[in-house]
């Protein structure tokens, strides 16, 4: 029972309805977009709830309990409440920039899902530059954070925006270089082909010692930094910058940032799953279950980090990236190159 | 040094300029004149046997007739502690700043100035800090102070 077949069937029946092919494609894509949005919204709502539950249980609390069974409706209530909240646009802000920043933040996070395979055949469009596309499109997040920081006309927001931009920029290099060994071995940029290169469990890139685990660790660290989560959550460090770049945001605009943050977290984990953990591959269960399961395990890992570690200072953060991760990732790439050349692990 | 030794030592070190008060039951309590304050502080700070390196507290008192300013000092090294105070008339009360000896005196003196209206010479930063910036109701810690919205505890 593969979901992909259902979508194929729906697409076929749409194509047979006599509409011109262009319109069929457009309608199918719009529908796909809405479905992806729905899935993401559900995932984000679930992640928020899950994060609260995980944090609560790490801290020997219960977390949300009173809205629905064990608080499952909590984030939905939050969302409905945020819709009702007044949307304040302070007088001194740069209005268009202030308005568009959350939209760009969300859209950048959303676009990445074009190329992420949720399961076998469950990909909106298997771009031939898949992974590169995702990396490229998510850089818009930086722009949105800078816009939010600048548009707010607030010193804390500006400092937060700058911090996050610098941070994302610094961790972009180790992130990109840590996925290069995978591309080296898979010989392709397409996400689907990368997954197919890891058909057997021993082929998962994380198990290709030594470069695989190292690349995975670098990727996870850099991904944590890119999504601004503890220990790299400086841009929204409550104790330093109040709420960082989204100090001035309220209501739905804030909700968009919030949503984008969790979608980004899921993106990072989904990419890690695809690149290192064999994506949707797995026995018995439907492919999308495997994909979701693996990704959620990684998400849980990020949450676990968040509720365990203190936060780095901004200069230490930078130095860690440039003085440690960047040389390490390049060294790892060279090792991987030698391995590829000498046909080790080249199964 | 126990208390009697300490008292004796200090009285001998500053003959005639300092007066022992029989008020504190525990540590020695002296009274000095306001113009002797700086010299006194300097010498107890530098004296080898006393080495008063720690200023505990400065507190002003409005006795109803006069202001008193009480200094509590201690030595971390020699484990001794004593207090001394000086008196000031209501009108034109003014004392020297002892920040050059103990930098921590800064805020204590500011507080004395702000709440009691005792001027501090050479303080350098006498600005409002405990009270609101736009406070204009005088010096609230004085005994005779009153304000329209100040509610005294009903006498029981």
């Amino acid at each position: 029972m593969e979901l992909a077949n259902i979508f194929k069937y729906l697409y076929q029946s749409l194509a047979n309805s006599g509409l011109p092919q262009v319109w069929v494609d457009i309608i199918a894509l719009v529908a796909a977009g809405l479905i992806v949005f729905g899935v993401l919204a559900v995932i984000a709502l679930f992640l928020v709830w899950w994060e609260r539950k995980v944090s609560a249980h790490i801290q020997q609390r219960f977390g949300p309990m009173r809205t629905g069974w064990h608080g499952v409706l909590q984030t939905i209530a939050d969302a409905i409440k945020l819709i009702q909240k007044e949307d304040i646009t302070p007088t001194n802000v740069d209005r268009p920039v202030f308005y568009w920043a959350p939209i760009i933040a969300f859209v950048a996070a959303f676009l990445a899902y074009i190329a992420i395979p949720f399961g076998k055949g469950l990909i909106v469009s298997d771009l031939n530059i898949g992974i590169l596309f995702i990396i490229a499109i998510t850089t818009f997040t930086i722009i949105s954070l800078l816009m939010a920081g600048w548009g707010s006309n607030n010193k804390y927001a500006l400092l937060g925006g700058m911090r996050s931009a610098a941070q994302v920029v610094s961790y972009e290099v180790p992130m990109v270089v840590s996925i290069l060994p995978i591309i080296l071995f898979a010989g392709t940029l397409s996400m689907v082909e990368i997954v197919e290169a890891q058909a057997k469990i021993y082929q998962w890139f994380i198990f290709r010692v030594p470069f695989g685990p190292i690349a995975f660790i670098i990727y996870i660290i850099a991904g944590t930094a890119e999504t601004n989560r503890t220990p790299f959550d400086l841009p929204e460090a409550e104790q330093e910058l109040v709420a960082g770049f989204n100090v001035e945001y309220s209501g739905m605009k804030f909700a968009m940032f919030f949503l984008a943050e969790f979608v980004n977290m899921f993106t990072v984990c989904a990419i890690a799953t695809t690149l290192f953990l064999g994506g949707w591959q797995g026995p018995f269960l439907p492919s999308w279950v495997w994909f979701l399961g693996k990704t959620l395990v990684l998400v849980f890992l990020l949450m676990w980090f968040r509720w365990t570690y203190p936060r780095l200072r901004v200069d230490q953060l930078m130095e860690f990236s440039w003085k440690f991760l960047v040389p390490l990732s390049f060294a790892n790439l060279i090792i991987a190159g030698f391995m590829k050349h000498s046909k080790w692990f080249n199964w | 040094m126990d208390h009697t030794e300490l008292t004796k030592y200090i009285l001998e070190k500053f003959p005639g300029k300092i007066e022992l008060l029989d008020t504190g039951k525990a540590e020695p309590f002296f009274k000095i004149s306001a113009d002797f304050l700086l010299d006194f502080c300097r010498s107890i700070h530098s004296d080898e046997k006393l080495f008063i390196d720690f200023l505990c507290n400065i507190g002003a008192v409005d006795t109803g007739k006069k202001f008193e300013v009480v200094y509590s000092v201690a030595s971390v090294k020699n484990h001794i502690r004593f207090d001394f105070k000086l008196e000031q008339e209501y009108e034109g009360a003014e004392i020297d700043s002892i920040q050059e000896i103990w930098a921590g005196a800064n805020w204590h003196e500011r507080e004395v100035w702000e709440l009691y209206g005792i001027n501090i010479r050479n303080h350098g930063n006498l600005t409002r800090f405990l009270l609101p910036d736009d406070w204009n109701q005088g010096f609230p810690m004085r005994k005779n102070w009153d304000a329209p919205d100040f509610v005294r505890m009903p006498e029981q």
Binding site: D25, G33, T89, L111, V124, P181, V242, D315, K340 | -
Partner: protein
């Protein structure tokens, strides 16, 4: 080509969905702006000066280095894809390429640029 139509359509769908939720919120939410509310938040104090401060951005130098390494990374992608069909010389060329740039990184490191000024 057709694959990339998805990008365009997703772009519109994404923006549309966000704008739609904004519109939805506009229906429900109250709106009552006044002067104090619209003041910028600065820890419950009236803000001092404009928020558009011009400040010593020490991140700038990191951005400089980043641009260089980002450019380097884009050359690594085609190399990595094609490496399976190339020989050892490609590896050596790439190592030379990387080492030259890492030299730049170490230069910056030694010059103390990577240290926070």
């Amino acid at each position: 080509m057709n694959e990339y139509a998805a990008v365009l359509i997703f772009l519109f769908v994404g923006i549309g969905v966000v704008l739609f939720t904004f519109f939805l919120a506009r229906l429900v939410r109250p709106s009552n702006p006044y002067k104090a509310k619209n003041q910028n938040y600065e820890c419950a104090e009236p803000p001092i000066g404009s928020g558009w401060i011009q400040f010593n951005n020490r991140f700038y130098i990191f951005a400089l280095i980043f641009v260089v390494f980002d450019v380097e990374a884009i050359f690594l992608f085609p190399w990595a894809v094609a490496f399976g069909q190339l020989g050892l010389y490609a590896l050596i060329e790439m190592i030379i390429f990387i080492v030259i740039l890492l030299f730049g990184l170490f230069y910056a490191w030694k010059k103390g640029v990577l240290k926070w000024v």
